[in-house]
């Protein structure tokens, strides 16, 4: 039985890394007592595979992983709600397991399947007007060049193609700061939230500007239609239309 799990990662726990998240799940699976399948070999590990890495420091409403249960168990034997609660209770504070579904037959890995994700980024030191202008200017540009460095290699890339959609989300009552909604492509090298903010506000320090970074959705394509990996109710704060 193969499961696909959606969960949140919110609050202080966002300062743990993607590798740490894998560690949290490994321990949680053992604590939960759920009959998870293990790899063979000298050091058996619970059979799990994780989706796109969430940058350390970013929060998320839409993290995914695949978990294999031992063969003769099906979801019919288990209540989904109960499973969500058992995993959730075994995970650190800040995780909530929101959805568990059977994985489609023949589904590719999350890493290959996901084509885009949506971020809501709360901005410090930028006014709503400045954000509206920056969104318009960026969308109007035919190319947006950023210099970045990874593994010691400096490169200058056009990141405009990765920006599938940009918009401004309304401020909320408890936080007047403007928020940027961005759907970015995840294939190829991808575009980190801080790189996106740096590209839109080149004169500012993106680490200061991107005060809160929240992943709200991850998208896959089926029959030419983009949809969430496991659809959830739209996020009220930033209701992006689903687009073909």
């Amino acid at each position: 039985m193969k499961l696909r799990v959606r969960h949140t990662k919110l609050g202080k726990v966002r300062f743990t890394s993607h590798r740490d998240t894998a560690r949290h799940w490994e321990r949680a699976v053992r604590k939960s007592g759920v009959a998870v399948a293990y790899s063979a070999g000298f050091t058996p590990r619970p059979r799990m595979s994780f989706g796109l890495a969430l940058p350390t420091g970013a929060e998320s409403l839409a993290e995914y992983l695949d978990i294999d249960l031992i063969d003769d168990i099906t979801l019919a034997d288990l209540s989904v709600d109960d499973l969500c609660i058992r995993f959730g209770a075994a995970l650190p504070v800040g995780y909530e397991v929101t959805h568990i579904v059977p994985r489609e037959a023949g589904a590719t890995s999350l890493q290959e399947d996901v084509v885009a994700c949506t971020w809501v980024i709360t901005l410090d030191g930028v006014s709503t007007d400045e954000l509206v202008d920056a969104v318009a200017a960026t969308l109007a540009a035919s190319a947006v060049m950023v210099q970045r460095e990874r593994k010691g290699q400096r490169s200058t890339d056009d990141v405009r193609p990765a920006m599938l959609d940009l918009s401004v989300a309304p401020a909320t009552d408890d936080d007047p700061r403007p928020r940027l909604c961005a759907m970015v492509a995840t294939n190829g090298r991808g575009l980190r939230p801080t790189e996106l903010v740096g590209a839109m506000f080149p004169a500012l320090d993106p680490v200061d500007v991107a005060a809160r970074v929240l992943r709200t959705q991850q998208w896959i394509e089926r029959d030419g239609t983009r949809r969430e990996v496991i659809p959830a109710a739209p996020v009220a704060a930033c209701a992006l239309p689903e687009r073909a």
């Binding site: 202080k12 726990v13 300062f15 743990t16 890394s17 590798r19 740490d20 560690r23 949290h24 490994e26 321990r27 949680a28 699976v29 053992r30 604590k31 007592g33 759920v34 009959a35 998870v36 399948a37 293990y38 070999g41 000298f42 050091t43 058996p44 619970p46 350390t56 420091g57 031992i70 075994a90 650190p92 504070v93 800040g94 680490v207 005060a211």
Partner: protein, 671 residues
């Protein structure tokens, strides 16, 4: 009194490993502070990854938080990047549990495992916003407390701390809490700090350095004497008589990020009487007190369920000496925390057991093979000296047969790599002893090559630092040049020995350790100078510079040779003579003489008492379940094990395994 989180949070986007600063571990407690509760901030003066697994700190954290008159939180040394941001933005040292300012606690207590962290202690006191010198503190400042093995010679830090706890903390922290609670209730009025310290100085196990006068006679120490009649002339350590009464930690902390010992740890016994003469841990933690096997099993089961770990480390100074270790590990092998069916069918999450501080014999290795869950990363043994003669001097009585049997057993069971710990610069060590290290390693490789072509042996060489309260406390440490020469001897010889690799600790760091290990109060200003010159994290080789220490010694007019390299004589007043781990000074002196005469001393756990002073002085006894020494090897205790070893005492002892390898960062897991 409020959380600093709102000021800490923005810094975390700019530092490496921000998870060091967030707390949130499984097992962490959300404490309720209040006027009637004494608040402790327990500090480990090294990084989070090194400090979090510390068992002593976890035990005290839990015991204090179970009291209704105390709360405890934790803190660790912020890494350089975080410290720079904190200082730039005036964020003081904070707890990781609720991000409360260190200065808001009643006590700031440091656990000290090694001398090179002393400058971090000064740095953390300063970062807490507290004056570093104790005589400049006001009643509202936290009381600065030291504990841990280094507390047995706290003199270099004497002018910087308020109180020092000798020995085990389980009971004494309650006594301290009660005194501080009274002081807190009285409002900590101006001038009251000295009063509470005087009260605390009467608590057994508590040493208040400011209550003592120190007299010198030229460079020599003449006496350390109490200022008042009601302050004890000698402070004795505290020892828990029965480990079974302290089943802690019950809710071990499982961190959210990677730490050095990322597994469940359960302490199976405390103390060690193997009597290795270089080993301070074995001398100051006597007698041996085993935890009941049933309780060990219970702590493991509950700990696994609570943490989700699949690996447990059975900790002690020499775990193979635990009575019935075989039965215990066999009973654990099918434990795990998957479903009962999984455990029963051996599917999935089988438990892996690690045994740190392995004794050197085939039995022990067989045991390690059975329980390691198939992991064969490497095995570490500590013969400590290259010749039988020298091993008699240091009383680490491992025969070559023991070692070769252990190595044969390891390679035949699938291990490819073996690591051998040695000390160099030991008393009476001649070049033939030093070179014997390479002979042993070469022979071990040859044994290994019979089983695998990949067999390799790594020799890890540490410079010997004589430690207080050991028979070697009178010995003059080798000079840095001499240690370098000996390391070079080993390296040169090893170049001609295929499969033998050599790693060594920097003799310069060994010198700094020597300055602090047997230092007196005049070393305090040296530490302060090293710290002010930027010398923190001194056990991290990338941040260590000997020149800082040498300049500081020169600036204080102190001689490195006098403090480090000089042999002491029998009648010299030692800086820690007013502090007692229970060992008679004349026992230590006789043992020193026996060492020079190359006489080994038996483990008193299974043989009659030779009156080191601890059991008789404190009215406590060894608590050892088995009246006979363990099967399959004696680690050369000199006992005639063939006889079957019945012992005329009802409750017995064993002898320790040395783990006192200096510069302790990597002295961790055995595999």
């Amino acid at each position: 009194m409020t959380s600093l989180w709102a000021r800490v949070e923005p810094l975390l986007a700019r530092v490496q490993k921000p998870a060091r600063y967030i707390g949130c571990e499984d097992g962490a407690i959300t404490p309720q502070h209040g006027a009637g509760r004494v608040s402790w901030l327990l500090a480990y003066p090294d990084t989070y990854e090194i400090g979090l697994p510390n068992q002593g700190l976890q035990i005290l954290y839990e015991i204090l938080n179970e009291r209704d008159d105390a709360v405890a939180e934790r803190t660790y040394a912020p890494w350089h990047d975080m410290e720079a941001l904190m200082r730039q933005r005036s964020v003081p040292l904070f707890s990781v549990d609720t991000h409360r300012a260190a200065g808001d606690f009643d006590l700031l207590a440091f656990s000290l495992a090694a001398e090179l962290v002393y400058t971090n202690v000064l740095n953390l006191i300063d970062l807490a916003g507290v004056p570093v010198r104790s005589d400049q503190r006001e009643p509202h400042h936290p009381l600065i407390v030291l504990g841990g093995h280094c507390a047995f010679n706290p003199e270099p830090l004497a002018d910087y701390v308020d109180l020092v706890v000798l020995g085990e903390g389980e009971e004494v922290i309650g006594d301290i809490t009660e005194v501080v609670r009274g002081w807190k209730a009285s409002g900590k009025t101006p001038g009251s700090r000295e009063g509470v310290l005087r009260e605390l100085s009467k608590v057994p196990g508590v040493y208040v350095p400011s209550m003592y006068d120190v007299e010198y006679d030229g460079p020599m120490l003449r006496a350390v004497t109490p200022k008042y009649a009601d302050v004890p002339a000698t402070v004795h350590k505290r020892t828990v008589a029965d480990l079974g009464q302290w089943p802690y930690p019950k809710r071990p902390l499982a961190p959210l990020t990677e730490v050095v010992h990322d597994r469940l740890a359960v302490e199976v016994f405390r103390g060690c009487t193997r009597g290795c003469r270089f080993c301070q841990a074995g001398m100051i933690t006597r007698p041996v007190r085993e935890r009941p096997a049933a309780q060990v099993k219970d702590l493991i089961e509950r700990g696994l369920q609570h943490t989700g770990y699949d690996e447990v480390s059975l900790t002690s100074l020499s775990t193979a000496d635990f009575s019935g270790i075989e039965q215990l590990t066999r009973g654990l092998a099918t434990l795990g925390c998957g479903t009962p069916e999984q455990a029963a069918s051996n599917v999935g999450s089988n438990l892996s057991i690690s045994l740190p501080s392995l004794r050197v014999d085939a039995f022990t290795v067989g045991l390690a093979g059975q329980v390691s869950g198939g992991r064969r990363s490497g095995l570490t043994f500590a013969p400590e000296a290259g010749s039988w003669r020298l091993r008699q001097v240091i009383n680490k009585l491992i025969t070559e047969e023991d070692l070769y049997g252990a190595v044969e057993s390891a390679f035949s069971q699938g291990w490819h790599r073996t690591k051998l710990y040695f000390l160099t610069g030991l008393p009476t060590e001649a070049d033939s002893d030093t070179l014997g290290i390479v002979d042993l390693a070469r022979n071990c490789v040859q044994i290994g090559r019979r089983h695998t072509n990949r067999a390799s042996v790594t020799v890890s060489l540490g410079g010997f630092v004589p430690k207080p309260h050991t028979p070697f406390q009178w010995f003059g440490q080798n000079t840095t040049d001499e240690l370098r020469r000996k390391v070079q001897l080993v390296r040169d010889a090893a170049q001609r020995a295929k499969g033998v690799n050599v790693k060594w600790h920097d003799p310069a760091a060994t010198l700094a350790e020597g300055i602090t290990a047997r230092g007196d109060r005049r070393i305090g200003p040296v530490l302060e100078r090293v710290w002010r010159a930027g010398g923190v994290f001194q056990e991290w080789s990338e941040f260590f510079r000997l020149a800082r220490w040498e300049e500081a010694m020169a600036a204080e007019g102190l001689s490195v040779e006098w403090y480090v390299n000089r042999h002491r004589d029998e009648h010299e007043v030692l800086p820690w003579d007013h502090l007692s781990a229970g060992l008679h000074k004349d026992f230590l002196w006789l043992d020193w003489q026996a060492a020079l005469a190359e006489h080994g001393l038996e483990d008193c756990r299974w043989t009659p008492c030779y009156d080191c002073g601890v059991c008789t002085g404190y009215g406590i006894e060894h608590v050892v379940a088995s009246p006979v020494p363990p099967a399959g090897g004696s680690q050369g205790t000199g006992q005639d094990l063939a006889r079957g070893g019945e012992v005329p005492v009802a409750l017995l002892t064993r002898r320790p395994e040395p783990v006192a390898v200096p510069a302790s960062i990597e002295a961790g897991a055995a595999t």
